[in-house]
Structure formats: structure tokens, C-alpha cells
Symmetry: C2
Subunit: 417 residues, 2 copies
């Protein structure tokens, strides 16, 4: 009766996509290892959602314990959501000491924008050229990487890309944001927010030098808009700090959005922001999310955050990230490797057909990703031309895994490039 695994379109429809030329059917996992139906082991160097590692016992324990007691919503009082909100907001600089909870990063970005639009009275939003911010109707209109265009009140700017741009990427990014805000103003649209993934993942992973966001943030604020740091991909320790924006001294976003790793796979997202913004939003509208911040989600979120902190995973990501960067650097001997960049345990390897022109080696990148999967190692691709290999493992990644990953990548590049 069951549709064959590969024939899933017959029941899930035409909008779903699969990874890899030979899609994988994963049935169990532990740490950074996953196993398919045939028992074959893969090293997971791609999935950021299981940030603690697959099937982590602290998450299973929290799920089981709280689901066995009660799973209710935020219209009743419960201690766990408060303990979680306090533990979470304690990791942010003042005045970011309020949290709201959702079921996904999409709902978090959507809520942050609703708050920003309510507070500013504007609807204009500035995002990067190949941004991805989520699946709601609002966010699809400001996620150009989906390939369906952008909404009329959205303006796009190039990401601060130190490989393809010359000069001061921060200054250029700031000028582009200022011009976008001015273009919105001329169109009669008040800017509500600059919304950026602080790792610029869909744009190819660009975490720039100290201060590289300052001009852009100043420009949007000068135009009356807010700065929303989308930490859905970059948050929860991967960068070497708990939040990627913390690498930028003095930078305090107006709103920060959270998702993917927040529940280690359990559907949890959130917005961290200032009291004054929620006072305005709360006076205008109530907010109730049936599942957002429910007792089980709060217990799981608290378990994930506590484990990240008790295991020192941000420091681990910082330390091992240096080793990862050093190991990846050896791949520069392959002429197709145009650039290697990243932070902590989040790196991109951009493949080009010509180092002079930096023309994207898109087909090669896909072939490398597929061949790596055949060799038992999971990575992805990202970037405007989908030519940047995306390395983003669970933070249970250890030194031997770095060696295994980079050795395999070296071998595959030798084979294919």
C-alpha cells in the first residue's frame, strides 16, 4: 500500500525536493553519524538542526518527561517557559531581554516583521540578493533564493561578499542599504526593517570583518527602520559565540530571530527583542501561538540551551573551527577552489571554473556534493550560483571528523575537478 519511497510525489505532491542524485533514506542517527535503511553509515557535515548531535539523550529525556506530564499553551502559567525565556535572554546584550516563542524560524521572522511594521508604521523591507528567510507568504516575498521574485515593498542589496567584491565590503553594504531605503522612500514606502541572516548563508556564507554591518544598520535606522538579525541558521553556538552577531562589537540588533537548532529538531522558534517594541505591538494586537512556547517545546528548548552551555559548544566550535579552516586551506591546491571562508563550524568552499574570472563551477559543486554522499559524507551547496560547498555539521563534530571530511573532499576534488 505504501508509496515507494522514491515515488513520494504521488502523495506529497510536486513542491517537495530531495537532496542528492541518489536520495538518502535515513533511519537512525547518533552524534554526527546517521545510518540509512541498509545500515550504511554517513558522516553528517551538513545538518545544523541537530546541533547537539542526532537523537541526543538530553532532548529525548526532556521530550519524554514533559510530554508525560502535560503539554499546554501560553494562556496558562507555567514555570518552564519563564525559566527558558530567562536563560535565553540572559545570553543577549541589554536591552534584548524579552522573548516570544513560535514553532519555526519562519514564524519567528514573520512575527519579527509584524512587530517591526507595527512599530515603524512602515512596510518596506531590505534583504540580500539571494536571501532566504522562510516559507510564509510574507517571507516568500523577501526570499529571492526561492526564484519567485520579491514583493513590491521589498528591495534587495548585494551581500557583503569579500570574494567577489573589492574594497571595503562593509562600506559598500551600508551604501547599498542606504540607497535601497531611499528608493523605498521615493516610492512612498516607509522602511520597516533590514532583515539579514548574520551568516549570509544563502548568499554563499559571508561573515565579514569587525564592523562590516555597522554602516548598513546605521543606514536603516537613519531611515526609520529596524535591524532584524536572522540567527535561524547562525545561532546557538556554531559561529564560536552563541549568536553570530556577538562577533560584531557594539552591534545590538532591534530584533533577533531564532529557529532551526533551537529544539535540536523539535519545532521551536523565537524572537528576542526589547520591551519598548513589544509594548507597542502588545498594545495594538494580542499574540497567541497555539504550539509556540508550549510546555514541551519550552522544556526541550531549555534542555538544548543548557546542554550547549554545559558542554561549552560555542568554545568548541571556535576551537575546532580553526582546525577546520586550516584543514580546508589545504584544498587550495585544487585550481577549482576559488575561495574558502567561514566562521567556527560554518564554512563555505566556493568552486570556480577560472580563478581569474571567478566564474561559478555550479555543475561541479553539485557533482562534488553528490559524490561526497556516495562516499558517505553529507554536505550541501549554497550561494547565488549554487557553487559554494556548505559545511555546517552538528556541534558534536570532533577532530577526527574534520580529518575524515577534508580527506574525502580532497579525494573527491581530485577525482572530479
Amino acid at each position: 500500500m505504501t508509496a515507494s519511497l522514491l515515488d513520494r510525489r504521488s502523495v506529497l505532491g510536486a513542491a517537495y525536493r530531495l537532496f542528492y542524485a541518489e536520495p538518502l533514506a535515513l533511519v537512525r542517527g547518533s552524534g554526527v553519524e546517521v545510518f540509512d535503511v541498509a545500515g550504511r553509515r554517513y558522516l553528517d557535515a551538513y545538518n545544523n538542526v541537530p546541533v547537539l548531535g542526532h537523537a541526543h539523550p538530553a532532548v529525548v529525556e526532556a521530550l519524554t518527561r514533559q510530554a508525560g506530564l502535560i503539554n499546554t499553551h501560553t494562556r496558562y502559567l507555567h514555570d518552564t517557559i519563564l525559566r527558558y525565556a530567562e536563560a535565553l535572554t540572559a545570553t543577549f546584550p541589554d536591552p534584548l531581554n524579552h522573548a516570544m516563542f513560535t514553532c519555526s524560524g519562519s514564524e519567528a521572522n514573520d512575527l519579527a516583521l509584524r512587530i517591526a511594521m507595527t512599530v515603524t508604521g512602515g512596510t518596506g523591507v531590505i534583504v540580500t540578493e539571494n536571501a532566504y528567510h522562510g516559507v510564509t507568504a510574507l517571507l516568500a516575498g523577501m526570499s529571492p533564493s526561492l526564484g519567485i521574485g520579491t514583493a513590491p515593498q521589498v528591495r534587495t542589496v548585494p551581500a557583503p561578499d569579500s570574494y567577489h567584491q573589492s574594497g571595503d565590503v562593509g562600506a559598500a553594504f551600508g551604501a547599498a542599504v542606504a540607497a535601497a531605503a531611499e528608493d523605498l522612500r521615493r516610492s512612498g514606502v516607509q522602511v520597516a526593517a533590514l532583515l539579514v541572516d548574520t551568516t549570509f548563508a544563502s548568499d554563499g556564507i559571508h561573515v565579514g570583518p569587525v564592523g562590516y554591518l555597522d554602516a548598513a544598520v546605521a543606514a536603516v535606522r537613519a531611515a526609520g527602520g529596524l535591524f532584524i538579525a536572522d540567527e535561524v541558521q547562525g545561532g546557538f553556538g556554531r559561529s564560536g559565540k552563541l549568536w553570530t552577531f556577538l562577533h560584531q562589537p557594539g552591534l545590538v540588533p532591534d530584533l533577533v530571530t531564532l529557529g532551526k537548532p533551537m529544539g535540536n529538531g523539535h519545532p521551536v522558534g523565537g524572537v528576542v527583542t526589547r520591551k519598548d517594541l513589544l509594548d507597542v505591538f502588545g498594545a495594538r494586537s494580542r499574540y497567541f501561538n497555539t504550539f509556540g512556547g508550549n510546555t514541551v517545546s519550552a522544556a526541550v528548548g531549555l534542555a538544548v540551551l543548557s546542554t550547549i552551555q554545559s558542554e561549552g559548544l560555542p568554545d568548541h566550535a571556535a576551537t575546532l573551527g580553526v582546525d577546520l579552516a586550516a584543514a580546508l586551506d589545504g584544498l587550495r591546491r585544487h585550481a577549482v577552489v576559488g575561495d574558502i571562508r567561514g566562521i567556527g563550524l560554518y564554512h563555505g568552499v566556493e568552486l570556480v571554473t577560472d580563478r581569474g574570472t571567478k566564474a561559478p563551477a555550479t555543475a561541479l559543486a553539485k557533482a562534488v556534493m553528490d559524490e561526497m554522499a556516495r562516499d558517505g559524507i553529507l554536505i550541501g551547496v549554497c550561494g547565488i550560483a549554487s557553487n559554494t560547498l556548505k559545511i555546517r555539521p552538528p556541534l558534536a563534530f570532533k577532530a577526527p571528523h574534520v580529518t575524515e571530511l577534508v580527506t574525502a573532499l580532497d579525494r573527491v576534488l581530485t577525482r572530479l575537478a
Copy 2:
């Protein structure tokens, strides 16, 4: 360090709201009973999310088992999501045999509208006067019950209310939808969808006679739009059938949205629709929801649906619903009871200050709800004037609970009215 439970605004902000004059801090539950921090027991006659009952062992087991194996997303193959999608779509009439999965009813309604807008090329949406369809920016603009107005491309129509309207409510509803579609057309807006909660819960619970939706659905289709049945509140057996729209012979929605009870509290939502609509949507855009349809959510959803079916909960709701309606009917001896209506285990008791004018007894309804909570029984209020008592228990509700509920309601009405 922890904010006192009641002082949660200091960390959650101003947009959250609590139930009851004396808010409850619930710490455990079982079946239809919940218990507060002091150990006091409450009969839950309100929460539809824990459809099987609080902390149901089948849900805890599915969560624990699958979370201990692996929690991955839909870019890998997995048998469970297919078995769940097949089991789910098997409960719908042809040609509704495709399913997509989200984390919430909000994400489901948002996705259904994106599909409808893509397929029809329109943006216009028709909803009822006091509708609530979710928290995303798109849905907030078509949820007038939030009190923040509606988006420009939205038109509202009165719900088919057999208490306040005279004559054929279905014909009136159809005429109102036709007029709204025509008004959109005159404004240069193509209608994409008529979106209705098939229990009209926010409008006060109105499940009308056979055929009462037919004229409205015909009208929106004649104008080139689709009919989206929002079964987020009414779905999963409460009405006496698995889906409330199944009470309408021959009525086949274009899209059906699911949420709240779908995971018994686990964040799961979904859209069930036709192949041809997803072919158009899928050709235009890919859809990926990080947590939607993940292996744990699919396992939980399958466990909930299987338990609903194996325990015969729709039939139970139908049978016990007749007893509930009969017991509630005795309350008509109170002059403040203007109307009693509903279906299965979903009933409303509308309170009025005057049976002739049907003027709403809004303050009394809130007082009755609060006094019921003091007496240990949880109910809610709904309706345009918030004067309809909302009775919507977990389907683990049994005959003695009906007696306990209605006896208490009789006592409280005697005390307060």
C-alpha cells in the same frame, strides 16, 4: 531569579494574554483532567489540542521512540511521512489525496493561501466577520477577531448565523460571498479563495443545516476562486465525523487545512489538496519546511490519527454529543440563555441580556467562564460579542463529565444570572 509566574510580562512582553480572572498554573494532566501546582483538579471542557486526552501514552510513546532514532526533514526519504500521508489522505474524498506538512495551523492556512494565490493568480480572500485563521502577517490581515482590521485585498461576510439571522442562512451566506467577490472584482482584485473555519468558531460556533455552504462555495468558484476549508479547530473527529465538512454531502473543498489536534499538542499542521493544484504550485516554487513533516512529527501525527481511528473517537463524539446537547438543553430554563448550538463535542451557549433583542451578555459570559474555573471546570468564550460559552473538550470526555459540566454550569448560571 525566576520571574514570578504572574509577572511573566517582564520576560515575555506585552502581547501575551492569560485565561481567567485567576490564571491557572497547570502542571500535569491525564485524560480530561488537569491539575494545578497546588494539586487541585480541573475538568477540561475547553482544550481541543489534546484531542486524545492530556499526556496520552500513545503520543508519548511515538515521541520517545522516534526522537530516540532520528529526527530529520523531508529532503531525505522516510517511510513514516508516507505512511502518515497515505493514512491521512485516505480519510478524505477524492480528489483530495495529497498532503503537505507544516508546524502549525497558521503555517497550514498560510501555505493553502499561497497555493490558492499561485493557482488562481488572484490575491483576494473572503472570510467571515469575526474570523480567526492564524498569526502570520498574511493571516493576521484576514483575522478580524484580532481587532487590527483586515488587509486591503480581504472582504468580510457575516457568518451563517441561524440565531441572529432569519430565513435561509445558506442562501444569505452565498449571496454575501457573491457580493464580496464582485466587490473585489470591481476593485480590480481577482479572488483567490473563500477561507472559512467549518465550525465558524470565532464567529460563535455555527454549523448549519445540510447544504448551507453550497451557495457560498459555488459563488467563489464562479468568480474563479477556490474554497479552503479551515479544519484547524473542527478537524480530527470532534464533529462526529473526522472532518466537519463531511457533514455536508457532496461538498469537496479545494484545500483543507489542519492543525491544533493533529499532534495532540506536538506542533504539527498540514494541507490536504488535489494533485493539479500542487502541480501548478510545485512548478512555480519549491517548498521546504525545516520541521514540517519531520520524522518525529510524522510519527506523532500517525499515532494520533491511528488512535482516533482505533478508539472510534468520531463516533464517540457523535454519540456523546447528542447527550451533551440534551443536557445543555435543560439550561434554557435560565432566561440569559439565548441559544444553544453545536455539533458533536463542540457546543456554544450564547448568553443574552434579553431574549427578544438578543443583546449580548458579554460581561456575564466572562463571569460565568471565570466562576466555572473557580468551581474546577474549564470552558471558554467565543463569538463577535464574546458572549457565547465555548465547550470543546478533549474527546476522552465521557458521560459523567457531561453531567459534571452541565450541573456546574446550571449552578453557576443560577448563582450569577
